[in-house]
């Protein structure tokens, strides 16, 4: 099996690479590239993302044909794709970080700043928070409800269809922390930095 981590200059993806390689061992071939052919012929794709919504979308668009290839992979061919952090956020129609920016439009909704209630809550939302699993998701196999995951973000994805939400976490409000829609998966938290439970999520995705 081939899993491709899309390397589109979205910031620091070394931790994502390390975690997938740790879990994959010799069983699965992990590629790190933005090569369109590689992505196309992968069994699974991981879309990481750090920095702002706008900078990530710009970086995707900067690579000729990448967005089309991802669309073909996830929407036309319905192959499994996992978005992490801003990788998840980009599924939305629109994001409001820095300036209004069009997203991939895979899952209707928007990405807006977390309401910090006038400074009552610190932003970024940094650290370990518990996930409330609200629907069965394949990536949560053998993951207990209320497990701790590592978060670091100031913006949240608000999908229109609440049925895509697989877990939330409590901060100033119930923040969407993961989604599953058919073959499309995403986590707002960082499984690659969430210790043993996080690595299990990586493994669940690899063994889908």
């Amino acid at each position: 099996m081939n899993v491709t981590i899309v390397d589109y200059n979205s910031g620091n993806i070394s931790s994502v690479i390390n975690s997938f390689k740790e879990v994959a061992k010799d069983k699965v071939n992990i590629k790190v590239t933005a090569n369109l052919k590689n992505i196309k012929f992968s069994d699974k794709v991981v879309l990481p993302g750090q920095g702002s919504f706008k900078s990530c979308i710009d970086a995707l668009n900067n690579i000729n044909g990448l967005v089309d290839t991802l669309n073909e992979f996830a929407i036309d061919n319905k192959k499994p794709l996992l978005g992490i952090c801003v990788g998840l956020q980009m599924f939305a129609d629109v994001g409001y970080e820095e300036t209004e920016t069009k997203g991939l439009g895979w899952i209707s909704g928007k990405v807006s700043k977390i309401n910090n209630e006038n400074g009552k809550y610190k932003l970024p939302h940094i650290g370990w928070n518990q996930i409330n699993i609200v629907k069965d998701s394949k990536i949560y196999k053998d993951i207990e409800n209320n497990s701790h995951m590592y978060f670091v973000h100031s913006y949240e994805f608000i999908p229109e269809d609440k049925n895509v939400i697989s877990a939330t976490t409590d901060y100033s409000s119930k923040i969407v922390c993961s989604i599953e829609k058919e073959n499309i998966f995403g986590t707002q938290f960082h499984p690659e930095k969430s210790d043993k439970m996080g690595l299990r999520i990586v493994e669940n995705f690899i063994t889908l």
Binding site: K122, P124, G127, Y150
Partner: protein, 251 residues
Amino acid sequence: MLKNRIIPCLDVKNGRVVKGINFVDLKDAGDPVEQAKIYSDGGADEICFLDITASNENRDIIYDVVKDTSKKCFVPLTVGGGVRSVEDINKLLNCGADKVSINTAAVQNSEVVIDSSKKFGSQCIVVAIDAKKNKEKWEVFTHGGRNNTGIDAIEFAKKMEDSGAGELLVTSMDRDGTQIGFDIDLTSKISTKVNIPVIASGGVGNLDHLVDGIKLGKASAVLAASIFHYGKYSVKEAKEYLNSKGIPVRI
């Protein structure tokens, strides 16, 4: 609920841990990778490396240390010490650091904070503020505490937030190494002033000090070195104690 974090800090010099954990079962007590792994397996919420290498020719060793650690530790890794430029930050992130802490360079030139937070995102930019009390105010020190800039630490904290820092690591120079507890006044004043998380550092000698840092100092996270290194307390014991005092921690 978001948990308060406990962050053990390791001083690394020429690629070796200085004053590290003194465990009998350690194969190599000076190996930062092995020590970081012990902490992460023991429940540390993050690991912090402070590179105190003085000579220029050995400065690149830290990159290999970070590379090796990030392949074995799957909790966030913060690296600081001698970070001068956006390029230094880029290199550390590429080696697998999740956050980089900037001290002297942030004081000398806030553009480093502005540019790096724009380029890599605020989530990975930590500004480390070393402060020392002078009458009614606290002054910012640079170069590992050797130079007094005279800059007001609380004003500087606000400026760093505005420049794009994602977190502040606040160390009291008066308390560092004393084991008599954090400078609670300093920590709470900065934490109240800014809307980004504050990590309290400097002075931890017992577990009640950690409790005070969070309850009274309003810190989101507490950083400590010696109480963990010498096996006085394990990270697990610290967390259980905080939990018994009603502080939310990841157990």
